[in-house]
């Protein structure tokens, strides 16, 4: 199955911004597929074969309610990007590394400040340059130091708290991080030597590809009460960090794809695509993968925490004031590639499910106990990065997400153009100039990499979040426009 060919199966209208692939579409589907999209996006989505992947995921053992896909869905390895699938371990439910992806706990962190556009604009070149030099980024570039294996093992168990304990952050940062920056049950012994070696030198580094760091300004507010509560009123300057678990997570995924290919045969799980390889959650293989994946998730939270610390220092240096005095508070850190054990209402009652989010963001509504206490009356902040020439969005979760999508929404814009196509359209220097015309300063280690990430290579993220809002899964709080962009 390839991404090129169009999907010719059924996509039946199933209510506002909802399309159903009925389980009668293919033998072996245990539940329907549901794709969230408007008519325009549904056309685009048909153009690649991702809906077929939604149908394939519906065949996996123990899947509950439906195989779900967000409006930014596109073709992925086995599972589509933008997919959500919850499995019930009590019903033979499986866990699959392909349902998480190579970049385990890739996610986004948003930092707010008391700075305004007027404070930042005259010093934007200096600000971007200082952050660029403070935060290691690019292909082959690790963090500022190598961790010993015993230090790394502690970091894998503790997540973001480990780096906070070592002076890189504030205690209340953890209150504003999904899962407080640490999943229980992470086991460094479930991780290969290779992953440990790859991870030792990369804590506090951004990487390359679609990962970025942006200086932004809130240029539109949709919900003033929520924007004030999140510290992001119109004109406020924010900093967004998008990255994951680096080579550590890639290695964990690769190691367990091998394990799971054998496990799927061992447990006689029928797979429509080998890349959906998986094992029962309750099996030894499933538990070992979860223990290693949690270690990688904790690595990513520690990584984003360490990067944020470097950003706070750099911004403080530029403005000659401490990060505390500049009000550089964490708004939230949320992950979009993960499998988590969560309690949900199902047709069979309340169950503990293994929820795969591959390119999907958790979105909790007001009152949920896992929403930070400071935001509980409002709901969890949901950070949706866009492309570097347009904007990103801050949303807040709504109750329907919990009713329909296991508390999940979209994760970004999704590519509209391949990397090669983007490179043929535009060169890195041209991207730099076009962004400069819009008042956006960019620093990147790689010119070719920059060309591949330019705006038109991505869908308009506004279309994606509009669907999520119309479907009632989350609502818009504010829009964040880039002033400065840092890429690997």
């Amino acid at each position: 199955m390839s991404p090129g060919k169009a999907f010719d199966g059924p996509l039946e209208p199933a209510g506002e911004c909802r399309w159903r692939i009925p389980k009668s579409y293919k033998p072996g589907m245990r539940v329907d597929g549901i794709i969230y999209a408007d008519a325009h996006l549904a056309d685009q989505i048909r153009g690649d074969n991702a809906p077929e992947q939604v149908a394939n995921v519906a065949m996996l053992p123990g899947i509950v309610r439906a195989s779900l896909a967000m409006p930014d869905i596109h073709w992925g390895y086995g599972f589509p990007i933008g997919g959500v699938a919850a499995m019930d371990p009590a019903d033979g439910g499986v866990v699959s590394p392909g349902g998480v992806g190579y970049d385990i706990n890739c996610g986004v962190r948003l930092l707010r400040s008391d700075l305004t556009r007027e404070d930042v604009q005259p010093r934007i070149d200096d600000l971007v340059a200082r952050i660029f030099h403070a935060v290691p980024c690019g292909v082959g570039i690790g963090g500022h130091r190598d961790y010993s294996r015993s230090e790394l093992a502690r970091l894998l168990r503790e997540g973001a708290a480990y780096v906070v304990r070592h002076g890189q952050g504030w205690d209340d940062d953890l209150d504003r991080t999904e899962a407080r920056g640490c999943l229980d049950g992470a086991d460094p012994d479930a991780v290969s030597d290779r992953a440990m070696e790859r991870g030792r030198g990369q804590v506090g580094s951004l990487g390359a590809g679609n990962h970025f760091l942006e200086v932004q300004v809130v240029d539109r507010v949709y919900d003033a009460q929520a924007a004030d509560a999140f510290g992001t009123p119109e004109g406020a300057v924010t900093f967004m960090i998008h990255c994951g678990s680096r080579g550590f997570g890639h290695q964990v995924c690769d190691d367990f794809l091998k394990v799971m290919r054998k496990a799927a045969a061992k447990y006689d799980i029928q797979l429509p695509d080998k890349q959906l390889c998986c094992a029962p959650v309750e099996s030894d293989e499933g538990q070992r993968y979860l223990a290693a994946m949690r270690a990688a998730a904790n690595y990513a939270w520690a990584n984003r925490q360490a990067i944020m610390h470097l950003v706070r220092e750099a911004v403080g240096n530029v403005f000659g004031r401490s990060a505390e005095r500049l009000g550089l508070d964490l708004v939230y850190d949320v992950c979009h590639n993960i499998a988590k054990m969560e309690e949900h209402e199902t047709p069979a009652g309340r169950r503990r499910l293994c929820v795969h989010r591959k390119g999907a963001t958790r979105a909790l509504a007001a009152g949920h106990p896992e929403t930070p206490a400071v935001y509980r009356a409002l709901g969890q902040p949901v950070i949706i990065p866009g492309d570097m020439g347009r904007y990103s969005f801050l949303l807040v979760g709504e109750p329907r997400a919990m009713e329909e999508t296991f508390g999940s929404v979209c994760h970004g814009a999704g590519r509209a153009m391949s990397r090669g196509e983007a490179r043929r359209h535009v060169r890195g220097e041209e991207v730099r100039r076009r962004l400069a015309d819009k008042g956006i300063v960019v620093m990147a280690r790689s010119s070719a990499g920059l060309a591949e990430e330019y705006s038109d290579a991505y869908k308009d993220v506004a279309d994606v979040v509009d669907v999520v809002e119309k479907a009632g899964l989350a609502r818009k709080v504010c829009r964040l426009r880039p002033l400065g962009v840092i890429k690997g």
Partner: protein, 144 residues
């Protein structure tokens, strides 16, 4: 030395590699992967050390898995020691494993330009086979 071309794959990069035998395909694929990551390879990186690289049968049990394991091994050395394979002599290659002499140079971020971060070599659409004319061909997709 064999030849290769790239093909588009949404967010990722595909490689179509041709060589006179499996060994040639492995050596050419190594060059192709590092061409994606670094600008101006191979001239800028001087060979520092030549070492043996082996892929054992317990890591792989067909030609496709051998190719993936081989490239992952080179990516691992790049990430952990900044080593770039500059001279690759694959002495033995079969669906059961690989033995190669590799001359590695060292990546210097201050001097060498970069392009893409190759996260992994995927199994999607992976194909390694002998063609009717006796030469070998591989198709693979890099997650970037």
């Amino acid at each position: 030395m064999g030849t290769y071309t790239t093909f588009d794959h949404t967010a990722d990069v595909g490689l179509d590699v041709r060589g006179r035998d499996l060994a040639d395909v492995l050596a050419t694929a190594a060059r192709a992967v590092f061409d994606q990551m670094l600008e101006d390879r191979p001239d800028a990186v001087a060979v520092r050390d030549t070492v043996d690289v082996r892929i054992d049968p317990d890591l792989a049990d067909d030609a496709g898995e051998v190719l993936v394991a081989w490239l992952q091994e080179l990516l691992y050395r790049f990430e952990t020691a900044r080593l770039v394979p500059m001279e690759v002599d694959v002495e033995e290659a079969s669906p059961d494993g690989v033995r190669a002499r590799v001359g590695f140079g060292r990546f210097d971020p201050a001097r060498h330009g970069t392009r893409l971060q190759v996260k992994a070599v995927t199994y999607h659409g992976l194909e390694v086979r002998q063609t009717p004319d006796g030469s070998w061909r591989a198709r693979l997709i890099l997650d970037v």
